[in-house]
Symmetry: C2
Subunit: 256 residues, 2 copies
């Protein structure tokens, strides 16, 4: 998912948690270096949107791409039946505005009030045509989202709610941690309903799992938007679920 920054030498789109600010650490992990941002500055204008506001809608003509300066956004898509699913969350230094056939592929909405740099498409295209390095960075972004969506699939493929939630928390932690550090504190700017829509669970279940993990002394939640990992070992065990033996190991053989 877009927010995920597992850190990659070449790909890593945005390694900027909303905690610290410097763009210097792990320069190669950033989608855009400070220098690259400078090159974009001339065509960018600052926009601010309020919590809950929609930046653009799925299917609308793509007119601009946005670089998040501050705040958190979410990518929402409507299912045929009208229910919604959240495809991912975006944090500062992420770029949103993925389009296909000139139309945005999903709706992007502000989870918290946010500030973004707006880069109109025509100008951006002109710029990228002359700056292949920048161009390459934007391509990397798309590839990163592919990988993120695949990881999302892996999480949703597991039925158990506690595993899904633990993985989600782990993901949020990685996004917020600079350089793969293991922070114990996690910010959750989004609502329980948002988490549920991301994980394919109801808000009630999300809430219950939070309560369960808290009772088990695995995490602590001073308030709904802050989590502390208390028992790292057990937390990790759930997220990775080494638990019960399911599939007999040797199965990846066969002819050939």
């Amino acid at each position: 998912m877009p927010g995920h920054r597992g850190a990659s030498p070449r790909l890593a789109i945005a390694a900027r948690p909303f905690l610290s600010g410097p763009a210097t650490d792990g320069a190669r992990r950033d989608l855009l270096t400070a220098q690259e941002r400078e090159r974009l500055a001339p065509i960018a204008s600052l926009v601010r949107i309020e919590r809950g506001a929609i930046l653009f809608r799925q299917g609308a003509e793509a007119t601009a791409i946005y670089d998040i300066a501050g705040g958190v956004l979410k990518s929402v898509t409507l299912r045929p039946d009208g229910t919604r699913a959240i495809l991912g969350f975006f944090f500062p230094q992420d770029i949103v505005g993925l389009a296909e056939d000139g139309r945005y592929v999903s709706t992007v909405q502000a989870v918290s009030s946010a500030v973004l740099y707006r880069m109109p498409l025509p100008a951006l295209e002109r710029l990228l045509r002359r700056d292949s390095e920048l161009d390459h960075q934007f391509l990397m972004k798309a590839c990163h989202e592919l990988r993120a969506a695949q990881l999302h699939v892996l999480t949703l493929g597991i039925a158990r709610a506690d595993i899904r939630l633990a993985r989600f928390l782990d993901l949020m932690r990685q996004i917020q941690a600079p350089e793969g550090a293991r922070l114990a504190f996690i910010d959750l700017p989004m609502s329980r309903a948002d988490i549920g829509e991301y994980l394919g669970l109801t808000p009630e279940t999300v809430s219950r799992v939070f309560a369960r993990l808290q009772r088990a002394q695995i995490i602590a939640c001073p308030d709904p938007h802050h989590v502390r990992i208390v028992d790292e070992a057990r937390f990790h065990a759930i997220a990775q679920e080494e638990a019960r033996p399911r599939v007999p190991p040797s199965r990846l053989s066969a002819a050939g």
Copy 2:
């Protein structure tokens, strides 16, 4: 994912997915034209693998990309807990071998015996450097997979097994249909277990849902690998779940 290293397919160097998405319309999948295949022919060699054989493993150094001439393959990935998930199925004219940091991102295994064109990476890269049109096609492939993964997420975000399965069948149908045509017959070369691993269900549940849909006269399964859509309207209603009409587990009276 922990320790996940993002990266980039070294192919596709020149395009800008953010700006001009795939020029594909509607259901058209990104394929190579006959002409493009001709240009690839000089560096391609034919390979055949047996059912169940592994083409390459996740994490292994990427040495080639494959264009499927015949047969069906699946993309499998291991979860931290050892269980497997299927990310997708590949059919003739699909291209497999997506790499990241020079390593394959998932294991690809033959669902049925298959024949492929093997294109060694070094040669392919040389070729793409000179042929920007081909290069573009390969980029489209990556974008296509991103979109497919997002659709997969949408399906997995719904709990109900019958909806998941109906959507899967619909997907298979679209893949097998030449031009967005609505075929009533669907081939399912993969096993119930494969379907389950793709949908996040157990094989038993997959089987039960097949049985249920069959009893309800919505589909017909002459054998486990062939499905016919009998009641298109109700089938579609389930796949899109416009309403809440669930198919009762058993006892379906009223034919039609």
